[in-house]
């Protein structure tokens, strides 16, 4: 398979990059001054693209790579891939479900605890020497608080299971009600937000769920409410969220994703009632290796004409 051209869209994982280099003819997208430069030179050589939540395979890339047979995404989210076009052209698509579910769910709980209990802020407090001058303030209890989850898929369910360990009543909104859970279903996000204190975004990003957290939802959640986003930045109307936080119309936010990563709205950097993370949802040594192995396994299966491990299209 060493002659098969594979395009890696960004330096997402050293182990993955190394293994791809061993097994295929690897092209690094970022080695080239521009996308056009790359397409001009190598468009006919690429039979597979390995993308991520940062750069996937959009319409321009798909049209520029006529020999492309498969997109293997180093992510579970597919929002950076033009799935419709892939389907039209018979291009296979795989992602990395399941292996990252636990880490992302753990991160959601970490954000809830850090935001409510002000863990990062009190770490700053100690490091600044402020403890010598006085005690830190009381913070908000987590156990027993109502948690509302948008999207009760693999990750949403894993978050619910963890929050139940803290005696939190769980409610959710998704496209359809899920049978077999004890959780309360709300047919709209606004109703969900009106009836919970901690609202967690855990659904896929699609045209329908873009800005699913908007002004109306934020107002329904209210000044004691907290938004936790481990989905995609575009799930949230970011300027609305920022002004609500700055004006105190929303109690707090724990955010792992932003509309224009790696840029974070400057107003958020000055707030104490937010926790800001650089998109680390699946960011553990263990999980990134599992994700990489899944990408490699899918590519291998495809080029050996075996069934794909985690096909989406």
């Amino acid at each position: 398979m060493e002659s098969i051209g594979v395009l890696l869209t960004s330096p997402m994982n050293p182990y993955l990059e190394q293994e791809l280099g061993k097994r295929f003819k690897l092209f690094r997208f970022w080695d080239f001054p521009s996308a056009d430069d790359f397409f001009r030179e190598h468009s006919k050589s690429i039979r597979a693209v390995v993308g991520s939540s940062f750069i996937g395979a959009d319409a321009q890339m798909i049209e520029a790579l006529p020999k492309m047979e498969i997109v293997s995404s180093f992510s579970v989210g597919l929002d950076k891939i033009d799935l419709v076009r892939c389907k039209e052209k018979g291009i296979r698509v795989t992602n990395t479900p399941d292996v990252l579910t636990e880490d992302v769910a753990d991160l959601a709980l970490a954000l809830i605890l850090a935001t409510l209990r002000r863990i990062c802020e009190s770490d700053r407090y100690v490091r600044s020497g402020a403890w010598k001058r006085g005690d830190f303030k009381l913070t908000t209890k987590f156990t027993g608080k109502s948690v509302g989850i948008i999207g009760l898929g693999r990750i949403g369910s894993a978050i619910a299971k963890r929050a139940e360990g803290f005696s939190c009543p769980i409610s959710y909104h998704s496209r359809t009600e899920k049978p077999g859970t004890n959780y309360k279903y709300y047919p709209s996000v606004v109703e969900l937000a009106s009836n919970c204190q901690i609202l967690v975004v855990a659904c896929a990003l699609t045209p329908e769920t873009r800005h699913i957290i908007n002004r109306e939802v934020i107002n329904a959640l209210g000044p004691k409410g907290v938004v936790i986003n481990i989905g995609r930045g575009l799930h949230v109307d970011e300027p609305e969220l920022v002004s609500a936080l700055v004006e105190g119309r929303l109690g707090g936010a724990g955010l792992d994703v932003f509309e224009n990563e790696p840029n974070v709205p400057e107003e958020l950097l000055a707030l104490d009632n937010v926790v800001l993370l650089p998109h680390v949802g699946s960011g553990t040594v263990e999980t990134r290796k599992d994700m990489a192995d899944l990408v490699l396994g899918n590519l291998e299966a495809h080029f050996l004409n075996k069934p794909l491990l985690t096909p989406v299209v």
Partner: protein, 311 residues
């Protein structure tokens, strides 16, 4: 006319109770060991960690009960209480949920580098330096809980949902608990990836966590302390952290609060908290109910709500 029962409120500055008014409607409060009423006092309300030493107790020949306001009772001379038959109550279950929540918050923070990554973003480093270094997965890790009391049990219950494997060390094995028990703390450490310290501070547990335990825990190990600072040999902890003998630590308590070893400020693999694991409005409201309840139980000869076993 019946006089209100006498209670000595023992509060060394800066500690004070916020619900004096509520107590004054039911009890006659005195606040000094030198009061002429002191020899007649049968109950002492101990505010925060105000020390109750044998000297304090000498001023109170009629004392029968100390109502504490914290989970820990290491600031009270328990041996003297035992000798004189004085019962002691603590915060009971008031703090256990918040204490457990915070311990888990600290743990995930250390493993997934939450506070460090938040600092990274706030310093504007994400666009400049790129992705943050990877953390370590919590699921499947072996957690050794040191002290399976109120707080330890709540921690165990929560961590099961994260896919952790729980084992514990305690003064005695708990027959009602199915988690594996290790009588020896080094054995627990050798068979754990994470140690969560939430036991009482006593003569026996002073510096329980030392270099030997940390060596047994190993280079990938994480220590979380929501008990008392003196449960860990702080000097040896700092050394182990600086030399990379353990992966990291989350600390809510220190040997000499509010002083924190300044070496820790240089480290990215520690999360520091100013002794506030239990500090929520709900836990203090619950504590207030418990304190009033214990005082009323004492004066009506009913069983105390949260007695501490002094054996």
């Amino acid at each position: 006319m019946d006089e209100l029962p006498l209670v000595l409120v023992h509060a060394l500055p800066p500690f004070e109770i916020s619900f004096k008014g509520r107590l004054q409607s039911r009890f006659q409060l005195i606040d000094s060991l030198d009061s002429t009423f002191a020899p007649h006092v049968s109950v002492l309300l101990c505010v925060g960690p105000s020390p109750v030493s044998s000297d304090t107790l000498r001023h109170l020949p009629s004392l029968q009960c100390i109502v504490g306001s914290s989970a820990g009772v290491d600031h009270i001379d328990l041996a003297e209480c035992r000798r004189r038959g004085i019962t002691v109550t603590n915060a009971g279950p008031s703090f256990c949920e918040d204490g457990a929540d915070f311990a888990i918050g600290l743990l995930i923070d250390v493993l997934r580098r939450i506070s460090a990554a938040d600092r990274y973003v706030r310093a504007g480093l994400w666009p400049m330096k790129g992705d943050y270094p990877l953390g370590s997965k919590l699921g499947g890790k072996r957690v050794g809980i040191v002290g399976l009391g109120n707080i330890g049990s709540e921690i165990a219950k929560r961590l099961v949902a994260f896919g952790c494997r729980i084992a514990y060390n305690s003064r005695n094995k708990k027959s009602s608990v199915s988690f594996p028990y290790y009588a020896n703390i080094c054995n627990l450490a050798a068979n754990s990836d994470i140690l969560i310290i939430c036991c009482a501070l006593t003569k026996e547990t002073h510096h329980l966590i030392n270099k030997d335990v940390m060596t047994a825990l190993g280079k990938e190990g994480v220590i979380i302390n929501v008990g008392r600072g003196a449960l860990i040999n702080e000097k040896e902890l700092v050394q182990c952290l600086e030399q990379g003998q353990i992966r990291g630590a989350g600390l809510d308590v220190f040997e000499n609060e509010p002083d924190v070893p300044k070496e820790l400020f240089e480290l990215e693999n520690v999360v520091l908290s100013p002794h506030k694991a239990i500090a929520t409005p709900e836990s203090f409201a619950s504590l207030q109910e418990l304190i009033v309840g214990n005082l009323e139980a004492f004066f009506s000869n009913k069983p105390l709500l949260s007695p501490v076993n002094l054996e």
